[in-house]
Structures are given as structure tokens and as C-alpha cells.
Symmetry: C2
Subunit: 400 residues, 2 copies
């Protein structure tokens, strides 16, 4: 057996000093280095038992009574309140439900309607041109259905295109491909200065770094729960509506769950007060309660500690890659500056699709994003420094 | 012990002759008479084990690989094809996903767009005035966002209000409150004669009686899966788009899952061919695969046999109520004619809310719909004639 490398020794020390290390035991892990938690988070250990109870007792035995007795009916807002501290929101502003795409549609249409209350002439939706595609497609539909023009621009160019015509701006907090962290406070302020409404997509930031929705005056936000929040495959998304805007939130999807009196079975629609107004139809209980169990891993976790470890992990990964991988083989697309980095590293690499297949076969799971990107996500709750060193070492073997 | 009544003896004989009786063993039942399967179906026995596998192995161990290896990605259309024969549809026309409310929105907006392709002046959406409220609320939003007027009318009056202005008509196959079955073939033909698009809500009919979507030329349909299809609380809804109309289905929710090349990550939207065009965002896998396991109870079941038993159950219930409950105490809102009856009986009753509470306490579960309706649903796969006789007997005791 060869001498452990200096980096392997460093990894061991970093793991020993990691205040989040104990959290690993709250996940079901195996011998794979799992760096794809930015696509699908690992399974929290609390989930299987909870699902067994939800299926067998709540559904199988209590059946319809569970809508009250097991708290099914109020799950969207209760779980929203569990997510709230992770994104810097006071309670009562988040509901869980539907997919991210559907929540983007609600948020953008409502944003345009809000902007037009004071200035009916606003007719542009500005969208991050580098966004995960679904946001752009849905923004296109929201624009079409509200009589707006869609204007895709790079996030850095947003301040320059804002005008009295801008109704709403949809931006990603962290770019899904490059891992670039955008300046949410400054961009939100610029949107507000133009009199427009700011909608943020938090899919790639929530659970990995502080968001500060309340602090930075964000109007509306959406996010998925299956990445850094570990809610399970396709688990429901969430919608944040800033408290001061809730009375003005005019949903394009006013389903019965958002009614002021849902069981009154009234033919006239009256929107409920509060975040509940963002609900639509009957909530997807099995997925939602799996998410609720998954969120228990956040008990006692400080999001600042998560951010500190995330940066340490990505720094260490870049260092190990530099040490192990021959120069010129890979090239990081992710900004080096901490203030511009999310919790993933994107490496441009020749034959990236094939390289990722070989990495996965060798027990290091990331993902491939066309045309040439290897994407590695670092979930601070269950990824350790030893994993990081191993991943870089295996990458070097694979590209050799 | 008193002599069993003549009706109890009849119930025993009917159960002994019931060709669907063996299906009961495929559900987790208890000593409650469960007549609320039209709200939340009972738990199929196959579900708990499947969920355990989905959570522990597919998510917990295979993780991201399950999108391919466990068939997660194709679940919406695969499960749609499993529902298809139950509603008289050939494969390739149904996708599962989102809530009924969201699917109603997709269907109605797409219907208006289709109608306007040949006649841009069509500007009315006709909706069943007695509908479950969410359909009306969503139809109102679809009308507002497409520049239409919403026209609520009783289903029987629909043919009289159709005109060259009608773009789309949204109707319920079975009324959620009264259990009245509407004439889908005749109403669809009337909508078509006016040049409009017919959208049917199958929530209270699918799994209880033949629907015949293909046969009767229905254009678009939606339904939930947690009633007679037993998919679990808030399980995903489905959307039917008639094959000939799929190329013209222009979704207001064009999420990345409906893209022709979803992993191409292209910024321009190009709709996929086929029913997949009705998908939106990442499908809710846990709920969806619970539904898939739940649908296995339909193996070898003829929907005609289900309909025959359903009518026999509701007939027998009405007979037992007449025999046991003092005249004048309850009054059926559900049509006596088989051709106008779904799979539920709605009884108008003084103090219905309180009566239902006492029924539930006595082990007979139905539900209460304001202001004065006791609603009893009969799921032929697990409700027996002995249950029916007992329910009527307990009702007589409770109202006495």
C-alpha cells in the first residue's frame, strides 16, 4: 500500500474538524462518492420509516380522516414554514406544491399583474438568458398570456436593460451549468429601482448558501426541493410571496386549495389571505410528507456553517484537481471568487459525456451537461473532504 | 342474537355470487364500511412494498441513475397508458402529472387555442355551473387569460347556449355532489356540432363506469387518480389529448419535460410530439409510482363488470335505505335511472353534518357536502353487498 498523499492526509484532518460531519449519519450513503446532490439529493434516513407510516397508517388505516388528523390539509404551508429559515424568510410566506415550472408560471404572471397595478403600460418580462431552460419556456408562456415581450439577457446585463417598460424580472440565484452565484441583493435593488417585480429561482442555492429573501426585499421566489433539500425525486417545489405583496398576489391558477373557504364549495372565487393563496389543487401528500421527513436533517444546522463548508469543499476540490489532473485537461467554468460561487464546480473537458460515464463506473457520481461540462455538486451535509480528494484522484485516472 | 333480516341474507348471496369479490383481498381493509372511495380510495396491498423499494433502493441506492434505470423519466406516459383502457383510450394519449386543477388549465387554454385556429372570433368558455368549484375557478382564469367570457350553465342547458362564439366547453362526467351521470356522447356531439372543443372532467367516473373517450370523440379530458383509481392522497392527475389533436395541443405550461429534446438544454422551445406534450416539470416520482402500484389491482378487471356491480350496489343501498330508514328522513338526490347515475348516492338529510359525524363514529364512513348532503361512494373493487346493508342499517340507527 502506497503512502497516503499529502492531500489525503489534509482531507482526513478537515473531516475530523468538520462540525457538520455528524450529519452524514442522518443519510443513507454507500461507497459511492455522490457529487450529484445538486440534481437529486441523497436519501435522509428518516424518510423510509415516515413513508411506511404515511402509507400504512395515515392512508391505509385512517384514510380520509388523515386530511385533518394527520395534518395533510395544512402540509403545504407547514412545510413551507420549515423551508423558510433556510432561505431567510419569516414564517407565513412560503407554500410547498406543484413543480418548479408551475410555480414559476404563478410567480411571473402574478408579478406582471402587480407591476401593472401602478403602471398598466409595463409590457416586458426580462429573463436570465443562461437560465435552466424551463424557466425561459415558462417565461415565454407568461409573456404571451399577459401580452408582454420576453427579453432574455445575461444576468450581468440586467441592470442596463431595465426601464419603465419592465414588468417582471426572472433570475437564477445560481447558474445550473456553471455554478456562478449571482448578486441577489444588487440585482433585486436594480429591479426595484426600475419599478419592476423581482422573481428569483433558488433551485441551485437553497440549502447550500444563505439566500436572505426577507433581508434583501425579494418579491417572489420559487425553488425545487429535490436538490440540496433532499426531498426525493420530483418532490414538490415551493413558492415565496413576500408578506407585503400577498394581498396583491393574483394567481393565474386559482384552484380550490387557494380559496378563502375551500370547503364552502362556493361557485365564486375568493382568494385566501396569506401564502395559502399560492396553493392550487389537492396537494401531493406522499411526496410532500417525504419532503417533510427529509427536512428534519436541518434541525440545529446553521446555513452559515453549511456555506462555510461548501466553500471549503469546492476550494479543496479545485486544489486537488490542480494537483492530480494534468494541466490543460480540464478547465473550471465556476468563478474562483467565493462571492460568485455556488456549491458546485463545473469543469469543461473534452469528451465530457464519456468521461462522466467512466467516472460513474469508477464510483464517482456527478453529471454531464452538454456540450462539454462535467458538473460536480457538493452537499455539505453529507459530502466530506475525503470524498472530494477521492473524486479528484479518480477524475485524474479517468482522463489519463 | 336476532335473526338476520331478509336484506342481510340477500347481501350474503349477492356477495357469494360477486365475480369481483376476490379483488377485496388486494386492498388493505379493516372493520369500517368505507363508502368514501369517491374522495380517497382505500390502500391497495401492493403499494407499501413498492414504496419501500422506490424509497430505499431506487432513490436511496441507485439515486440519480433511477431516472433511466428505474424508468422514472417515462413514468408519466407509461402510467397514462395503464389508465387508458379504464377510460376507453388507445395508448399514447394520456400523461399523468400535476393536479386536476393544473390539468384543467392546460386543457382549457389549449382548447381555446385549437378552436381559434379555424375561427379566431370564438370568445366564450362554457362551464358546468354545478361543477366541483375548482373547475369553475380555473375556467375563469383560462377565460381571463385568453380574452374569453365565462358562461356557467347547467349541463342540460349546454346544447341551447352553444354558438359560433363558443370556443371550449368544460363538463363533468359525474356530478361530485349529486352523483348524476351526464350524457357524454350526446353533449360531446353537440359541442362538436357548434365547432367547439369538448373538455371532460372524469374525476367522479373513471374507474367506476365506462367512459369511452376514443369512441365518443372526446377532444380533451382530465381526471384525478385518488378516487376510484386508489392512487393515494393527492396522487397526480392525468390529461388525455386525442391523438388527432396532439399536434395542435399548444400548452400554456410548456415546461422542459414537454420539450422535444429535454436534455438538449436548448433555449428555444420545441414541443414534443404526442401526449408527452402535456407534461410540464419534473414528475413527482414517489406519488406517481405509488399510483402505478395501485393500478395493478385493475389487472384482469373488466370495466363493464365494475359498472354492473356499481349499479347493483347503489340499487341495493337505495333498497336497504327504503327498508330501514323511516320515510321522509332522507331523500335521494341521485337519479334513479341507471343511465343517469354514477357510483355514489347522495342523500339529503336534516343535520347532515352531524349525522355524518355519528355515522363515522359508528364505523360507516361517507362524507358531508354542504349544506345538507350525505354522500356515499361505492367502489366496486372493495365494497361488498354486506357493507351496503350494514351502512343502511347504521344510518337508520343514527337518524332514529
Amino acid at each position: 500500500m502506497s503512502e497516503p498523499s499529502e492531500l489525503a492526509v489534509r482531507a482526513e484532518k478537515l473531516d475530523a474538524a468538520d462540525e457538520l460531519a455528524a450529519k452524514r449519519s442522518e443519510f443513507i450513503l454507500n461507497d459511492v462518492v455522490y457529487l450529484d446532490g445538486n440534481s437529486l439529493g441523497a436519501l435522509p434516513a428518516a424518510v423510509p420509516g415516515r413513508m411506511e407510516d404515511v402509507v400504512r397508517r395515515q392512508w391505509g388505516s385512517l384514510r380520509i380522516r388523515s386530511w385533518d388528523e394527520s395534518g395533510w390539509w395544512t402540509a403545504p404551508e407547514r412545510i413551507g414554514d420549515r423551508i423558510a429559515p433556510l432561505v431567510g424568510a419569516a414564517p407565513g410566506q412560503i407554500v410547498v406544491g406543484d413543480s418548479t415550472s408551475v410555480d414559476v408560471f404563478k410567480a411571473l404572471v402574478a408579478a406582471v399583474r402587480m407591476a401593472r397595478e401602478t403602471d398598466a403600460g409595463r409590457d416586458e418580462i426580462v429573463v436570465d438568458a443562461t437560465t435552466f431552460p424551463t424557466d425561459g419556456y415558462i417565461a415565454g408562456s407568461a409573456a404571451r398570456m399577459t401580452g408582454c415581450t420576453l427579453r432574455p439577457v445575461a444576468p450581468a446585463e440586467v441592470p442596463g436593460v431595465l426601464s419603465g417598460r419592465t414588468a417582471a424580472v426572472l433570475l437564477n440565484h445560481v447558474d445550473y451549468r456553471t455554478g456562478r452565484l449571482h448578486d441577489l441583493p444588487a440585482l433585486t435593488a436594480a429591479v426595484h429601482a426600475a419599478g419592476a417585480v423581482a422573481v428569483w429561482d433558488l433551485c441551485h442555492s437553497a440549502g447550500a448558501l444563505p439566500v436572505g429573501l426577507d433581508e434583501h426585499g425579494v418579491d417572489l421566489a420559487v425553488g425545487c426541493t429535490y436538490k440540496y433539500l433532499n426531498g426525493g425525486p420530483g418532490s414538490p417545489a415551493y413558492l415565496y410571496v413576500r408578506r407585503e405583496l400577498q394581498d396583491r398576489f393574483d394567481s393565474p391558477l386559482p384552484g380550490w386549495n387557494s380559496h378563502a373557504e375551500p370547503f364552502g364549495m362556493r361557485s365564486d372565487y375568493e382568494a385566501a389571505p396569506g401564502a395559502v393563496r399560492g396553493r392550487v389543487g389537492t396537494p401531493d401528500i406522499l411526496s410532500m410528507l417525504a419532503l417533510e421527513a427529509a427536512l428534519e436533517v436541518w434541525d440545529g444546522v446553521s446555513i452559515d456553517a453549511v456555506r462555510a463548508k461548501s466553500l471549503a469543499l469546492t476550494d479543496f476540490f479545485l486544489e486537488c484537481v490542480r494537483a492530480y489532473v494534468p494541466p490543460g485537461t480540464v478547465d473550471s467554468l465556476t468563478p474562483a471568487a467565493h462571492g460568485e460561487r455556488g456549491s458546485q464546480i463545473a469543469l469543461r473537458c473534452a469528451d465530457a459525456g464519456d468521461v462522466m460515464k467512466r467516472l460513474i463506473a469508477a464510483g464517482v457520481v456527478g453529471d454531464f451537461r452538454p456540450p462539454d461540462v462535467l458538473r460536480f455538486g457538493f452537499t455539505p451535509l453529507y459530502v466530506g473532504f475525503g470524498d472530494v480528494e477521492r473524486a479528484a484522484r479518480v477524475l485524474a485516472e479517468v482522463v489519463a
